[in-house]
């Protein structure tokens, strides 16, 4: 919370209670919020949108690249498997065409052919020749298989029908997985024979399980029932049934996505190998394939988060700075407004006062003359002239008129604004001239007055009359506040840049705090009923302002008051 207190901008809790129906114009927190929301919106929405689009596009392109690569691999491998089998089929075809049925029935010849096949192609285990009735007439290989009747077997029927048969992989007698390829050869006389070869699957496996093909995944062949024809890394041994469903037939290479048993998404590429019972499958974990994408994605997100943080910081900073500036400008405007209001008030009061003074001055003049005449007449008659009570009464009337005249003259002076005449002045002399007026009173009341002026105080250019009126008013106030025998100190100092300050300090009764703020207000007086008009200090304050200066007051009840008048050394040029 203390951090917030430190960071909280000045305008945050500001409420302009005087703004009335225009309060919303001065709700700086709202302005700030609006500015932040708008700029954040304008800056972040496009950024986020572009990032999202880029995210989608990059993800799609990586996915499609993966699909392309996988399907190319499936299609290449399929062709390789096809050619492998086709090569062997073609070899058998060549043998049956190159050798007559009788030649092949010769076991020695058949042994030679098998030996040749083994050395040139490899992988051949045995060879058998089956006559048109389905009996194996001759056999070359490790087993005693002559004379076996194949006529009822499915593969034999298939080869009779299609001329070629490639079997599924099966364990056979030796419990070694192998497959058979059989070709039928028509003899001219309407009869035929079949050449049957057994291939071990080692080469076959090697072809499929090449690490480049698997590429971190699993590549294998299955038959149409879903039994593995070649070993797999993750889906079981040869002849096991795979956990994945057998994919639907398609003449082309296909790509599907499927979850495995651990609910991990897999990309499966498959192809039916033509003229064989085999289906080639390459299964890869999608997560593995997408690894490069995950890295890119992390970078993208990092960039986005970084950008958003920087943008937010900049926006918050700038918005706070600007709104604070507006707030300060507004505060300045308010101060000016109050000043204008104050001077308007002063002017209005001044006009009113002058009007009243004028109206009163005429009857006052009549009273003055009449009372004066009475006094004149009394003075001429001896018995009246000696009547002290009578003369005192008349004198009292005359002195009251004099007092009234003083008040009205002050009121008029308050209004009068004669042109300011600037002249170079020595402040000490100016102050001493003022004190000369008051010397009698000071002597009479044994007041101690001291004037001190620093040596670095320059000669000032100002209006002598106004300055003297200012000092006279302030010193008069001090005199009124002091007991007999009090002390008054006048100190003249050079204030900051091109300003001079005159401090008038007394050890009088002081001003209560509540009154301190109001002492410069017109008609504010604590001497109500004792001849105070409440105009002295307000006039003084107005005069100081006319000279481009300022007046301040500090006071403590019982200890005294100090007024400080600050004004420029040179008059400010009017703008």
């Amino acid at each position: 919370m203390t951090v917030w207190k430190k960071l909280k901008p000045k305008f945050w809790d500001y409420v302009d209670s005087a703004a009335g129906p225009f309060a919303h114009l001065f709700n700086f927190r709202r302005i700030w919020r609006l500015a932040v929301l708008l700029t954040v919106g304008v800056a972040l929405v496009p950024l986020i949108a572009i990032t999202a689009i880029d995210y989608q596009v990059t993800q799609k392109s990586i996915e499609s690249e993966i699909a392309l690569r996988t399907s190319r691999m499936v299609s290449n491998t399929r062709r390789a498997v096809f050619f492998f089998l086709e090569e062997r089929r073609a070899a058998l075809d060549f043998i049956v065409r190159d050798n007559s049925f009788e030649d092949l029935n010769d076991p020695e010849r058949l042994q030679t052919v098998l030996a040749n096949l083994k050395s040139s192609f490899g992988g051949f285990t045995d060879l058998g020749v089956i006559d048109p009735l389905g009996y194996q007439r001759s056999y070359a290989g490790p087993y005693k298989l002559e004379g076996i009747d194949y006529s009822g077997q499915a593969w034999y029927l298939d080869v009779l029908e299609r001329g070629i048969h490639i079997s599924d992989v099966f364990p056979g007698f030796r419990q070694v997985p192998h497959l058979i390829i059989a070709v039928k050869h028509e003899l001219g006389s309407g009869t035929h024979f079949v050449l049957r070869a057994t291939l071990d699957t080692e080469r076959f496996n090697h072809l499929i399980a090449h690490p480049e093909i698997a590429g971190g995944g699993d590549a294998f062949l299955i038959n149409r029932e879903g039994r593995l024809q070649t070993p797999s890394l993750m889906h079981g041994k040869v002849l096991d049934t795979i956990s994945l469903p057998v994919p639907a037939f398609s003449a082309n290479t296909e790509l599907i996505e499927m979850e495995d048993r651990q609910r991990q998404p897999n990309v499966i590429g498959y192809a039916y190998i033509e003229d064989t019972p085999f289906i080639l499958m390459i299964v890869k974990s999608k997560d593995d394939l997408m690894k490069p994408w995950y890295k890119t994605r992390l970078q993208l997100m990092g960039f986005l988060a970084g950008s958003i943080t920087i943008i937010l910081a900049v926006i918050l900073g700038v918005a706070t700075y600007l709104v604070n500036k507006i707030y300060l400008a507004d505060q300045k405007r308010l101060t000016m407004l109050h000043q204008v209001e104050y001077s308007n008030k002063m002017a209005t009061i001044g006009r009113l006062a002058a009007g009243v003074a004028h109206e009163i001055n005429n009857p006052l003049a009549v009273i003055n003359e009449k009372a004066g005449l009475i006094k004149d007449l009394f003075s001429m008659r001896e018995e009246c002239a000696r009547d002290e009570k009578l003369m005192n009464t008349v004198n009292a009337v005359l002195s009251s008129v004099e007092r009234c005249a003083k008040i009205t003259r002050r009121l008029l002076g308050f209004m009068r604004n004669t042109g300011v005449t600037m002249e170079p002045l020595n402040l000490k002399e100016t102050i001493q001239e003022v004190l000369a007026f008051l010397n009698k009173e000071a002597e009479h009341r044994s007041l101690h007055i001291s004037v001190h002026m620093d040596e670095d105080v320059p000669q000032v250019t100002s209006d002598r009359g106004r300055l003297q009126e200012i000092f006279l008013n302030v010193i008069n106030n001090s005199f009124a506040a002091m007991q007999d025998g009090g002390h008054l100190e006048v100190t003249v100092k050079r204030s900051k840049q091109d300003m001079v300050s005159v401090t008038i300090r007394d050890d009088g009764c002081g001003i209560p705090k509540a009154d301190l703020e109001r002492v410069f207000e017109p008609f504010f007086s604590t001497k109500t009923g004792k001849g105070g008009t409440g105009l002295g200090l307000s006039i003084t304050s107005g005069l100081v302002q006319e000279l481009g200066g300022d007046i301040r007051v500090e006071s403590e009840v019982g200890k005294g008051t100090s007024f400080t008048v600050i004004f420029p050394v040179q008059p400010k040029k009017k703008e």
């Binding site: 003074a357 004028h358 001055n361 005429n362 003049a365 009549v366 009449k370 008029l412 009068r416």
Partner: protein
């Protein structure tokens, strides 16, 4: 010394005239510009004390007309208002010193008149 007092306040001028008389100064008085002009036709005055604001003919106007008839006459303005305009106009007409704000102390008035007379004598 012969003095003419003009002010629309009857009580004021009459009493002032009487007081001046008691002090050995002969003073005539008028409560309007017209009356003042009539008096000025018959008599010649050394000093005229004029209110700035009197009905119909203003104090300044009256001063010009009186001066036209008797160029030697000195003038003192007396006003209850003391506004800046008044002060400027009267000062331009007679000089700053000859501008008094009511109520006027009679001794001050006599001193001022004497000063003016002395000035003219030089």
């Amino acid at each position: 010394m012969k003095v003419l007092l003009v002010d629309d306040e009857h009580e004021l001028v009459s009493t002032l005239a009487e007081r001046l008389y008691l002090r050995g100064i002969q003073a005539d008085w008028a409560i309007s510009g017209e009356e003042a002009l009539t008096l000025a036709e018959k008599n010649t005055y050394d000093v005229a004390v004029l209110d700035v604001k009197i009905p119909r003919i203003s104090g300044l106007e009256l001063k010009r007309r009186l001066q036209a008839g008797s160029p030697a006459t000195k003038f003192i303005f007396m006003t209850g208002h003391g506004s800046e305009d008044d002060f400027k106009n009267c000062a331009a007409e007679t000089g700053e010193g000859c501008y008094l704000v009511k109520p006027v102390n009679i001794e001050d008035l006599i001193r001022k008149m004497n000063e003016l007379m002395k000035g003219s004598g030089d």
